[in-house]
């Protein structure tokens, strides 16, 4: 404690280094840490159930009748959605007071809200694992499982989620209203309204599957390919200011450009999900055209992040966070942008829709666009929690844990994506183009050596990712501990010359 005070007499807040408690944090920041903790628990769950589901492709008898593929896969994708939402909520609670300039409004309520939401998530997961399926009636949909990919949460939980999101929204919007507004917070609040509103589109039952999937895509697409992207754009803007000292004016202008392009392409890009579900033929043209434009804002985000980092000569106050922000920019562009584009035109999608192409795209897009930025934010939070300590270059042990976990997670995901894509190529060719998509053709595709090898390599890279996650969590527990140097000062660069 004394050392810290001597090293930086202007920062009494560094006293918290020795205490390592949360008393130096604001109410919003303490809440953010709780959300991040649950997010990481769910990340582990996502990984474990993903490994199980991946193994079942190779060993179908594994846990057959006990934990079937459908259950493992459901927990795998639901844990992902929820941990990312927790990561976003945590990130927003982390930045809200700093951005608004006042204390969190309704901190107590927000805290209760966290426990209610987390208890609900726990109950839903236990029911998924223990009860699994129910009889074909509405009670099953209300109490066990809605049976619609990504939004399987039973209806009671849907309602609970909406209420909890309402409370979350109230605390965040209320804080900005009490304090000051900015371009970032204005965009964020409007985006949260859209995000919460869209969830309602998935909360009804209909016999007509075409109508069902029409609205289902409103939730799934307009979340992950529109409102989530804008949300991480806001978080990214704030993150670049904090890690690099980027100028607010620049990040805000970029944010508006990204919103214009993201919604400009992404809203009607929804049409690429309406090619084959019974909807009229005009969606082939509209969906194909606008979704082909969707990578453009993602290119802009890469340019933005890399340009900013370069302008600051990569001098950041938090190297791990900056590295993950850059990983986010590239991962978003590659996973959501390139991997989305390669099968988005209806002429190719006719052969790839519902094959491992989608899996390949889904994995890299969710990881690249969302997992990365949540991880970056956790590093930002940990730095502050551990007393605003040094997290730039020259870390103890040369920062091997964060560097290796970054490498293992990203290489693991890229390898898995490529393996799945090769399996997808093979599936499109054998099952679709040649076999005409009959059941026999499906299984013919699944047994081809290239498909099976794709599944094997996916497991290898999945294990690599798991090792990366273990290392990441170890780093989260240790980074900055015992560090006495204060965080590096970063400044906005002068006006651009030439």
């Amino acid at each position: 404690m004394a050392e810290a005070a001597i090293a930086n007499p202007l920062r009494p807040a560094l006293d918290a280094v020795a205490a390592r408690d949360t008393s130096s944090l604001s109410a919003g920041q303490r809440l953010a840490l709780k959300y991040f903790l649950v997010a990481m628990v769910l990340f582990v769950a996502q990984m474990l159930f993903g490994l199980l589901a991946g193994l079942q492709f190779l060993y179908p008898e594994l846990l057959y009748g006990v934990l079937d593929f459908s259950v493992n896969r459901m927990v795998h994708i639901n844990a992902m959605i929820v941990w990312m939402l927790y990561g976003f909520i945590g990130s927003i609670y982390w930045l809200v007071e700093d951005e608004a300039g006042v204390e969190l409004v309704g901190a107590k309520l927000a805290n209760i809200n966290f426990w209610v939401l987390t208890s609900a998530v726990a109950v839903v997961v236990v029911v998924y694992l223990v009860v699994q399926v129910g009889p074909g009636n509405k009670m099953s949909i209300w109490l066990i499982n809605e049976g619609r990919e990504y939004i399987e949460a039973p209806r009671w939980a849907d309602i609970g989620i909406v209420v909890c999101m309402g409370v979350f929204f109230y605390t965040v919007a209320g804080t900005f209203m009490k304090g000051r507004w900015s371009g970032i917070s204005g965009t964020l609040v409007l985006d949260l309204i859209a995000l919460a509103g869209l969830y309602l589109a998935g909360m009804f039952y209909t016999t007509n599957l075409s109508v069902d999937q029409y609205w289902w895509w409103w939730v799934v697409h307009l979340w992950v390919e529109a409102t989530w992207e804008v949300l991480v754009g806001c978080i990214m803007a704030w993150g670049l200011m904090k890690t690099l000292g980027a100028r607010r004016e620049i990040v805000t202008t970029w944010l508006y450009i990204e919103v214009a392009m993201m919604f400009g392409a992404g809203i009607l890009g929804l049409g690429h999900h309406y090619f084959w579900i019974g909807t009229p033929e005009y969606w082939l043209g509209i969906g194909g055209f606008f979704s082909a434009l969707e990578p453009i804002p993602l290119v802009a985000m890469v340019v933005h992040a890399v340009y900013d980092a370069g302008r600051h000569s990569f001098q950041s106050r938090n190297h791990p966070a900056l590295a993950w922000l850059i990983a986010h920019a590239f991962g978003n562009f590659l996973g959501a942008g390139v991997w989305g584009f390669i099968h988005t035109l209806p002429q190719i999608n006719l052969y790839t829709h519902g094959t491992q192409w989608t899996t390949s795209h889904g994995h890299l897009a969710f990881f690249g666009a969302y997992a990365t930025i949540v991880i970056a934010f956790i590093y930002i939070a940990l730095q502050r929690w551990r007393g605003d300590v040094w997290m730039s270059g020259d870390l103890p042990d040369r920062g091997w844990k964060w560097k290796w976990s970054l490498a293992l997670l990203n290489v693991g995901m890229l390898g898995m994506t490529v393996a799945l894509l090769i399996a997808g190529y093979e599936q499109s060719f054998i099952e679709r183009a040649i076999g005409g998509s009959t059941w026999a053709a499906y299984f013919e595709g699944q047994t081809q050596p290239w498909f099976v090898q794709g599944m094997q390599w996916r497991m290898v890279f999945g294990v690599l990712m798991t090792a990366g996650l273990v290392l990441l969590l170890w780093d989260f527990l240790t980074i900055g501990r015992g560090e006495t140097r204060p965080a590096k000062e970063v400044h906005a660069p002068g006006p651009h010359v030439g």
Binding site: F69, R148, G264, W276, G278, G354, W439, A440, P495
Partner: protein
Amino acid sequence: MSDGVWWASQDFWRKCAIFVTAFMFVVLILLTFHSLAAITAGQDRVPAYSVINHRIDYVFDEERNMKVPVIGEEAPLFGEILTEEEAKALVDLGKLTVQAKNCMNCHTLLGNGAYYAPDLTKAWLDPGWGNEQARELLMTMFLKDPKTNARTYGTNRRMPDLGVTDEEVRGIIAFLKWMSAVDTNGFPQGFEPLPQGGS
């Protein structure tokens, strides 16, 4: 970035963001009204539930350059002609069962879902059932006891026993028959249905 040029000003891009978003959303709403009218059951693209009383085929349409479902003569499911209401109730039971049993986390429906088991879009028409006469019986046996009657084609991927009742089985089959008559713009490409017309 904001030094003077209008196209780099924050204000310009804020307005752009607002107008572009609002415009695109309005267009989506208008298209949604049109699309929902087009996919209401009983319209051209999505059949009425009583379609389960008829033979369904999948044939090439020269004009559209794709295969389309063709609704043929009467061919009642389980030998019983149902009214529109009865048919809707049966398809509804099937849809509820498909959701409650979490089918979508192994199979795809209209190509959406998981990829561990075959697409169900044209399952009713799949040539794997052999012929029209055997189809209903084979489907029933499979759904009632998927362990014993597994159709894994050498992959060893068996469907688990989901405990479906006799009525739920009838519902699932009705739902699959109805789904096979949805006009999916030629998806899945190149699909050859099982022989039609009692051959």
